[in-house]
Amino acid sequence: MVKFDVNGIQNVEVSKKIPCEKPLLWQLELMERYTETHRKFSSCSKERREAECLKVLFPALLREIEETDLFAGRLDFLPIGFGAVTSVGGVGHYCVFAKLRAFEKEIGEAYHDRVEALYQYWLSHDLKTRYCKEVLTETTIGRFIDVEYPLIATARLSGMMLDYRKLLDLGIAGLRALLQEQSSQEPDNEFIRSCFMCLDIYKESACYLAEMAYRQRNQLDVTNTKRYQELTDMAEALEKISSNKPETFLEALQALWLYALLAGCINYGRLDELLGSYLARDLDSGRMTEEQAYAYVKSLWTMVENRRTTVNGRIIVGGKGRKNPEDADRFLHIAMKVAKDCRYVEPQFTLRVDENTSEEIWDEALEALGAGATYPTIYNDEVNVPAVAYGMRVDEETASRYVPFGCTEFVLWGQSTGTPNVCINLLKLLTIYMNRGVDPMDGQYKLGPIQPKQFEEMTSFEEFYDGYRELLDYYMDLSIDAQYRSYEIMDQHVGFLFNSILMDDCIARRKPLLDGGVRYLGGTCETYGNINTSDSLYVIKKLVFEEKSVSLPELIKATISNFEGYELLRKKCIALEKYGNDCKPVDDMANDLYEFVAKGIRERGILKGMQYYLIVISNNSLNSEWGMRTGASPDGRLAGMFMNPANNPQGGADRSGPTAMLNSLSRFDAKYHGGSVQNIKFSTSMFRDNKLLMKTLFKTYFKKGGCHLMVTVVDSGALEDAMEHPENYPNLIVRVAGYSAVFVDLADCVKQELLSRTLYDEGKCRV
């Protein structure tokens, strides 16, 4: 078995979590009770065991309602528990070992033995550890996030976007009736039985919170009539939804939120579509004022922010496939205002646009972006809907259910899984290939059984490229196997019951999500260093095989020696045309590599029997972290330097202005990927003084085939100054790639990468 560090960091965590409010000993006892339950039900079905374990967690882990909350539902996480994703808690029955060790330190020596007992038990039961033990290898597949490897893999169920409409339309009673129907057909079905238990947990949690709201209300100062009313409304809403379907905006919001919390979901989906009609009804009937609606949505923003998932928290509005766009837009307008006013890093407020998107919505979006909110991040339905239809092999109506989660990965809400459980570093593979299989960073051979060809004998670029593609093929095989295996292993141990209940067609098939329940079993594979790689290939093609100004062995020697003694050659490499400047031969190279990898991954998914397996060029800050352990590359990038973000050019390589960059970006055919993010950065003065032109710029880019755009607007020089004086910039928000963050909270390598990106500012060549 391969050795790996179970204590390693497992996900990007920039935003600091709010600590657990319960006493340490209480926490320890709960973890012990959880562990005991897990042990006790080990011979039962996985579904039963899961439900029994969930009963230990809920409602126990619910936090006190905060003074500003207008609806209820805050949750604590312990180092041991149950979940779906790594950002909150962990995956399946989990133990986050590093956090358990930290807990041990905090609670003190006296409890060492009890904590150690937990630690030892979970070493052989934590779901992700089970996966790692089986799938990781010595030199090719590493754990999330071990940047020594060209490929990293994990087990998780990220990005679930549930069909909350079912919950809202039917309520708990209606869901119970659905289960009853199935139960009468197959009384012994463990999955259906356990789903009943989940609905009980939901009811119990709602009642628990209602009681909490009443208790807080009764402790209020008599003069505080406003809060008295708020808590009464909250408690009544909770009581209502504990058994019945919601009827008001507040009830619908409360029902959805509580469910997402219990399901471990950290992306919320198309809330305009889900909540719009409740909102419209309440506003029109006079039950709620615009101000109250604003306050509820703002409270939602705060709740999402407070979960601090760093890269998730998606709330999506706008676009194709909404049943009642007029009502939905009323939610959208309020949300847009809240996003602009709050300027939180989460939720990741996402706007889908199409040809029917009104000028008013566009203007609101630009207004929020100009205020430095970095939101909304904009997706182009005219491109994405047909692309998703092709990529995921569904009709366009189904494709209009696409929603981006996390850093941008697409999923069909209520119908598909899309978790990205594998990441590949294309550039690291190129540097390994050029060094005959040995990673220049650590001297390890990382190509498994592949033996690269002799470069001395190569006479054409195609020969060189073929050799690289051969090892990409090998790694793409590893990728599909690692992804598929993650589903199998998760399925062996858990049912993800709360998720399953609101996903087609689990109840109808009486099967949990990963056991054949979900209608479309999809998945995604993140690729990194895409553009450094294609720019490097272009350099090789041009300098070695066309101009013949340097030999292949010499160029390889230069990169392996990190260009030391080859400064002039490096200058030449850098001076060559780069992606992002609307230069066709370079962009063609990028597209060729993109299509090779994207199609390769997609075909492997289909062959494996999945509905889809697509690459995402999404990017969190892994481009910077992985770059630190990736050798020098022929594009002139030095060893250890950050890699390009998503499919944007390497920072500063785009020297021809925003239209040229956007023209390059729009070249990739979106139908082969499952999401790709495009960053652009403007100075505040440039953006605010030219809003109309900005709008035209974005719209034209979308017309030309651009699938997505996210915009950072920042004062010229502000990032540089924030490096020197972080204390002056506590609220400076930047778009990293698939997420936004407070700039000064980021790691230095990420800050450097952000600084390197071109800031489009007022033209300099003016007389």
């Binding site: 400064e567 002039l568 200058k571 850098i574 001076a575 609307d582 021809s656 202005g657 925003p658 239209t659 040229a660 023209n663 030219n690 032109l693 035209t696 710029l697 719209k699 034209t700 017309k703 030309k704 489009y760 007022e762 033209g763 300099k764 060549c765 003016r766 007389v767």
Partner: protein, 299 residues
């Protein structure tokens, strides 16, 4: 046919309406001391040295076949008379501190860049602008370029100082949708002393252009402290606009974004180092508006 240009700027949003691409031609009849593009003045190519990128490794000194580069007191010094622009130093500099400003490009090469943003021009009411330096000094090649661009239905603008033989304008009218015509001063002697320009010829050309009806005209005034930053001068310029029936005037606040280029070209900057704000020009805007003109700040 080739043009000598020193830059093509895409997403240019200050040289006419909408999103544009601006081609900067090299060579100018004037020598305005505030010029933000000093590299535009001479028609010939020039060697540029960026001392902030220079590590004083002296590769250039050792390799220059003409002995035109020296190292004096730890700094690179260029003998510009001796420099033959052979580019040897540019190639050997490991830091990219040396470069040649100005390149010869064919009409086709330039056109190929201009056409790429056609969709953006159309959507924004933009187009292309020929600027400089002074594009009219290269009117023959400009005419061919404009003919090609216009054939694609793209809006064309020319920015000019106006101080060129009238023949140039005679040849170009019909291919230009908008002239951005600079008026810097209305005192002939002052204009000649400071910029070397001829007010008489400028006004003659302006008069000619306003008689042609095919194109739109905008007067542009770089507002320069201690030169024309003066209500009386501005009034004269506004009166000129009125007289010629030109309804629109753009005021360009003095800025110092080009200062660093003077040193790179071995030139000395003689103006003050503090730029103007848009707010400072507001009184002039009001003045012009009272005279019935549309006055804008910036491009």
């Amino acid at each position: 046919m080739n043009a000598t240009i020193f830059n093509i700027e895409r997403f240019a949003i200050h040289d006419g309406p909408g999103i544009r691409t601006t081609v900067f031609f090299k060579g100018c009849p004037l020598r305005c001391p505030w010029c933000a593009n000093p590299e535009s003045q001479k028609a010939a190519r020039q060697l540029q040295h960026q001392s902030n990128k220079c590590s004083t490794c002296q590769s250039c000194v050792r390799n220059c076949p003409n002995g035109a580069i020296l190292c004096k007191e730890g700094r690179i010094a260029i003998n510009r008379e001796a420099c033959k622009k052979c580019e040897v130093c540019v190639k050997v500099c490991p830091n990219g501190a040396l470069s040649i400003v100005g390149q010869e490009q064919s009409i086709e090469e330039i056109y190929e860049v201009l056409i790429r943003d056609k969709d953006y021009y159309e959507a924004s009411g933009g187009g292309i602008t020929l600027s400089g330096g002074e594009v009219m000094l290269q009117w023959k090649v400009a005419k061919e370029l404009l003919r090609k661009v216009k054939a694609e239905g793209i809006h064309t603008a020319v920015e000019t100082c106006g101080d060129v033989p009238i023949e140039a304008f005679e040849e170009l009218t019909g291919y230009v949708d908008l002239f951005l015509f600079d008026i810097k001063h209305m005192d002939a002697e002052k204009l000649r002393n400071v910029t070397g320009g001829s007010l008489e010829r400028i006004l003659q050309n302006l008069s000619y252009l306003t008689k042609q009806k095919e194109h739109q005209m905008i007067i542009r005034v770089p507002v320069i402290p201690e030169f024309n930053d003066d209500a009386a001068v501005m009034t004269q310029i506004f009166e000129l606009a009125q007289r010629f029936g030109i309804p629109e005037v753009h005021l360009l606040p003095y800025h110092t974004l080009g200062i660093h280029k003077y040193e790179q070209l071995g030139m000395t900057y003689q103006m003050k180092e503090q730029g103007m704000t848009k707010e400072e020009l507001q009184p002039y805007v009001r003045m012009g508006e009272q005279m019935g003109l549309s006055v804008g700040i910036g491009g």
